[in-house]
Amino acid sequence: MFRSNVLVCGGTGCTSSNSLQIAEKLKEEIKAKGLDKEVNVITTGCFGLCALGPIMVVYPEGSFYSMVKIEDIPEIVEEHLLKGRIVTRLLYQETVVEDTIKSLNKTAFYAKQKRVALRNCGVIDPEKIDDYIARDGYAALGKVLTEMTPEQVIQTILDSGLRGRGGAGFPTGLKWKFAAGNQADQKYVCCNADEGDPGAFMDRSVLEGDPHSLIEAMAIAGYAIGASKGRVYVRAEYPIAVKRLQIAIDQAREYGLLGEDIFGTGFNFDMELRLGAGAFVCGEETALMTSIEGKRGEPRPRPPFPAVKGLYQKPTILNNVETYANIAQIILNGPEWFASMGTEKSKGTKVFALGGKINHTGLVEIPMGTTLREIVFEIGGGIPNGKKFKAAQTGGPSGGCIPEEHLDVPIDYDNLLAIGSMMGSGGLIVMDEDNCMVDVAKFFLEFTVDESCGKCTPCRIGTKRLLEMLDKITKGQGTMEMLDEMEELCEFIKANSLCGLGQTAPNPVLSTLRYFRNEYLAHIQDKKCPAGVCKDLLEYTIDREKCAGCGLCSRKCPTQAISVTDYTAPGKRRPALEIDHKKCIKCGACMATCKFKAIYKA
C-alpha cells in the first residue's frame, strides 16, 4: 500500500515535452528522500488536456500539476510529497480558487465530459494488465463467454444503438450480424487503428492509455461472429501505441485471455499487429484489408462487402478503435444504459481531438448532442489572443467547415451531414479570423491529391483539377466561372469515385463555398485575401508615421526592395522607409524584424 500515488501522463503529447524524464526524476527524488515505500509513481495514458502538458496528478489529494518542468520536481517532492504542502504555484490555475482547490471534474474542461471510451485513460498504467482487471477489465469477456450466446451479444450491441466511430456511422451490431450470418472455415475480426485524419489522435490515446479495452472487445466480437483470428492495423507513426499494444497482447496471452480455450469455455481467439506504412486511403475498409495482405492498399468495389469476402477472401468485420472501446462497457452496463446517452439516432458519447486555434487543445469525450458552442467555448476555453471564431472543421479531409451560425446545432452523425460536414473520426480543428478558408480548402485538397491511390479516374484527376483551380484563386488568377466549374466537378467526383476517399474529398471545397463564398469572391474579384494568408495577394507596407528610419528592414530585405523616402515623421529623427512593391517577393522578413511594428500586410 502506498499513501500517495503520482500519475504522470505518458501519452505522445506529454512525452514530446519530456514527461518520461519527469517520471524518472520523480522516482529518483522520491528515493533520495526515502519515500519510495510510501509514494508510487505511475505512468498513465492521456489525461486529455494536452495543451497544459506535461501533466502530473497527485492522489489522494487530486492535485493537478500542469506544464511541469524537470526543475520543479525537487520542490514538488520536498514540499508536497514529504511535507504535505501542495505547491499551489505550479497547479493548473483553474483548479485554484482563492485558498481552496477545486476538483478537476468541476473545471470547465472536464465538467461537461462523460468518459466511456476514455474511462481508463489517465487512470491506469497501460502496461499493467492487473490495473485493467481492477477496473472490471475482462469481466465483459467473461460474461459473454459464460452467460451469453453469440446472438445475444449481437442483439445487445444492436439494442445499444452503437454506430461506427470511424466516420460513416454504420450500426456496429448490424455489421456483426451480417458477418455472423456467413458460414466459413475462417473469419476475421479487424481493427482500424490507422488514424490518418491529420489532427485526430483519439484512437492513439486509447491504444496508449487503455490497450486492453481493445483486445477484450475484439475477443468479444470474435465470439459474436465466430472468428478465431484478429488483426489490428496500426500506424507505424505511433511507436508508443504499437509498443503498449504489443505488451498488452503478450500479457493477455500469458493470463490465458487470448489463445486457446479462454475461460475454459473452448473459445479460441488470438490476434496480431500489422503496421501501416502511411497511406490515408488505408482507412477505407477494403483498402485496409488489401494492405494487411501486404499489397498496395487500393480499395476495390463493393459488393462483395467484407462481411462476405474480406481479409484473405473470408468474412471479416472491421471496426475502429473507439468503437471497440465502447463494447465492454455496453456488455457490463447494458444496452439501455448506453442508449440513454446521446440523441435519437446517435447514441452514447464521442471523443473529439480539439486542436487549432483553441485554448484547451486536447482530447474530450462528450455525450452526442452536445453543441459545438459548448465544446469550443466552454470545454475548449475559447479562442486564444482574443481573436474571433471563424469556423470549426470536423471530419478532416472528408469533412467540412462549420461556420458560426451553426454553432448551436447538437452534434450527431445526421446533423453534421445536414450542415455539409461529417462526424469523421473526431478531429475538430478550430479556425479564427486569421485563417483563410480558400487556403484551408486548398490545404485539404493538397492532402487528398497526395493520398489519392490513383485507381479510379474521378478521384485521381478530378481532385487534381480542383486543386489547380483553388491554386489559381489563391494567386489572384481566379475567375467567376471557376466557381461554377468547381461546384460541378465536386458533384461529379462525389458521385463517381470508387471509395470513401474520393466520394468525400470535395467536402472541404463545397462547405467553404457554401459558407464562405464571400472569401472566394474577395480573392477573385478584389484580388485580396481578407485573412492575409495567401502570399500572392498580400502587400507589405510601411506606415511612415511609425517608421523610425532605423534601416534594419532594408538590411534584412533579400531583394533590396526597401529604400529611404524624403519624409520624416514628427518626433522621429530619420526619414521613413518605403517598400517597392515591384521588387518585393513578400517573404515577410521586414515585418518580422521591425521593432516599431511599422510594417503591416494587407
Binding site: E237, G278, T361, G396
Partner: protein, 166 residues
C-alpha cells in the same frame, strides 16, 4: 506524392545483407510478408534502394514489380537516404492552421533544399510529415527523435544552429 529516387551509389555491407536474409527467412511463410519485410529492410539500410528491393523480391519469391509497387505506394518507404539529421515538419491540420507551412518554408530557404530532399553534405534532410499527434504542442517539428513544439518562424535558426556543428 512523387518519390525522389536517389542517384547515390548503393553501399550495403555484408552484415546488413545477412540481417536482411534473416528477416526474409523469418517472414517467408507469411502470405502478406512484403510490407513487414520492407519495413525491417528500411530499418537496416535507412532507405530502400532498388538493390535492396531486388533482394527482397528474390528472397520472398515475389515479382520485383510488386515490391516496387508497394515501396512507392506508402509514404513511410524512402527511396533516397535521409540526412544525419532528418527534420520533419508536421503538416497535420492542427499544426498547419497554426503556421507550420511557414516553418517548412523557412527551413527550406535556410537549408537550400525542398521537402523530401537531403543537403549535399548529407547532414540535413527535410520531410513534410503527417500528424504526429502532438497537437497540443502545435506547430511541431522533429529532428530525428527530438520534438520541438509551440514554434514560431523565429525559432528555426536557433534549432538549426544546435545541429550545425554537431
Amino acid at each position: 506524392m512523387q518519390k525522389k529516387i536517389s542517384s547515390i551509389p548503393f553501399s550495403g555491407t555484408p552484415e546488413q545483407e545477412a540481417r536482411l536474409k534473416e528477416v526474409i527467412a523469418k517472414n517467408i511463410d507469411d502470405p502478406g510478408a512484403v510490407m513487414p519485410v520492407l519495413q525491417e529492410a528500411q530499418e537496416i539500410y535507412g532507405y530502400l534502394p532498388i538493390e535492396v528491393q531486388t533482394m527482397v523480391a528474390e528472397g520472398l519469391g515475389v515479382p520485383l514489380e510488386e515490391v516496387y509497387g508497394v515501396s512507392t505506394f506508402y509514404s513511410q518507404f524512402a527511396l533516397s537516404p535521409k540526412g544525419k539529421y532528418n527534420i520533419s515538419v508536421c503538416l497535420g491540420t492542427a499544426c498547419y492552421v497554426k503556421g507550420s507551412g511557414d516553418i517548412l518554408n523557412k527551413l527550406s530557404e535556410m537549408l537550400g533544399i525542398e521537402a523530401e530532399e537531403c543537403t549535399p553534405d548529407g547532414k540535413f534532410s527535410l520531410t513534410a510529415c503527417r500528424c504526429i499527434g502532438a497537437c497540443g504542442l502545435a506547430p511541431v517539428l522533429t529532428v530525428n527523435d527530438e520534438v520541438y513544439g509551440r514554434l514560431t518562424v523565429d525559432d528555426v535558426p536557433g534549432i538549426l544552429d544546435k545541429y550545425k556543428d554537431a
